[in-house]
């Protein structure tokens, strides 16, 4: 593995930070602090920093909760990949993790439905979800994806890559306008 080449590729793609590995809550905290500090030094609006940080937290916690809920074995499958990149005036937060192939249809149709909603409908749907009964043992409130879509304004992008007959790799991408 040629780290210099990897860095060159990162630089070309505008990748500011990237992490690949097992994903604990303290890693999420530490990376989050690093992201906030890095962005604070760039000359961008505080609200953009907040939105990038929020997207990062929602994505990483979603990934972590999913891997926990599905009891995905640790090691290679139990890790996630996070990237923060900057392209022109837009920050791009991307996360990737292994998912069960059985979960893909539900996951992708949820995201497709969310992408059809405008800001007002997102707010209504978030409120409705917040007021609804959560299934027992829920790790989250069920509104993370909608929150990200609301802050982004660009919609949620995703891609799926099959690994074997049980698992696929799911990538989620959110863009946050700098200005």
């Amino acid at each position: 593995m040629d780290l210099f080449q990897l860095r060159e590729q990162f630089s070309k793609d505008g990748i500011m930070m990237c992490f690949n590995g097992p994903f604990s809550h303290s890693i999420i905290e530490e990376l989050g602090t690093a992201i906030k500090n890095h962005l604070a030094n760039e000359n961008i609006a505080r609200v953009a920093v907040q939105d990038v940080f929020a997207a990062y937290i929602e994505m990483t916690q979603n990934a972590r909760n999913y891997l926990t809920k599905r009891d995905i074995p640790t090691g290679d499958t139990g890790s996630a990949t996070i990237m923060i990149a900057k392209k022109d005036d837009v920050y791009v937060v991307t996360s990737g993790n292994v998912v069960l192939r059985n979960d893909i249809t539900e996951l992708t149709s949820r995201i497709d439905d969310i992408n059809l909603l405008d800001q007002e409908s997102l707010k209504k749907e978030i409120r409705r979800q917040l007021r609804s009964e959560l299934p027992p043992g829920s790790l989250g409130a069920g509104i993370g994806l909608m929150e990200m879509a609301k802050r982004s304004g660009f919609g949620l992008e995703y891609s799926i890559r099959d690994i074997d007959d049980r698992f696929s790799f799911f990538t989620l991408r959110v863009q946050i306008q700098q200005a």
Partner: protein, 126 residues
């Protein structure tokens, strides 16, 4: 009877502290716990016990970021306060935010819509 609540701030969880002299519960910092429901469960229990016995409470909130599951937990706490308010207990909230953090203002305004007791939103310089 003194009802103590004093949770120290951590990197991803806010300080939650009750001042029995002023009857003020202060929540400050950021909120993105590993498991929000687990984190706020003792706070919810404290609220229920407190509101069953006392007749006034002010919530002083200065939380600059809340992840989505924290907003659910906060909404549940506000519901408890609204219920208490309907029973005649004196409830109010002071929500403080940094003027260049419009997301915190958005959140405050959304929470304010969910309750009927006094809810003032003020800016602070940070």
């Amino acid at each position: 009877m003194m009802r103590m609540l004093d949770i120290a701030q951590s990197q991803s969880t806010p300080r939650i502290s009750y001042d029995p002299k002023e009857h003020v519960l202060t929540i400050s910092g950021e909120s993105y716990p590993e498991n929000s429901f687990e984190f706020y469960a003792p706070v919810s229990i404290w609220f229920k016990e407190y509101l069953a016995a006392e007749n006034r409470l002010r919530l002083d909130i200065n939380v600059s970021y809340m992840n989505s599951s924290s907003t659910k937990c906060m909404l549940d706490l506000l519901d408890l306060l609204e219920e208490a308010h309907q029973k005649g207990i004196t409830i109010d909230i002071v929500w403080r935010y940094d003027h260049d953090n419009p997301r915190s203002l958005d959140l405050a305004e959304e929470f304010k819509e969910e309750v009927t007791f006094p809810f003032s939103i003020i800016t602070v310089e940070q």
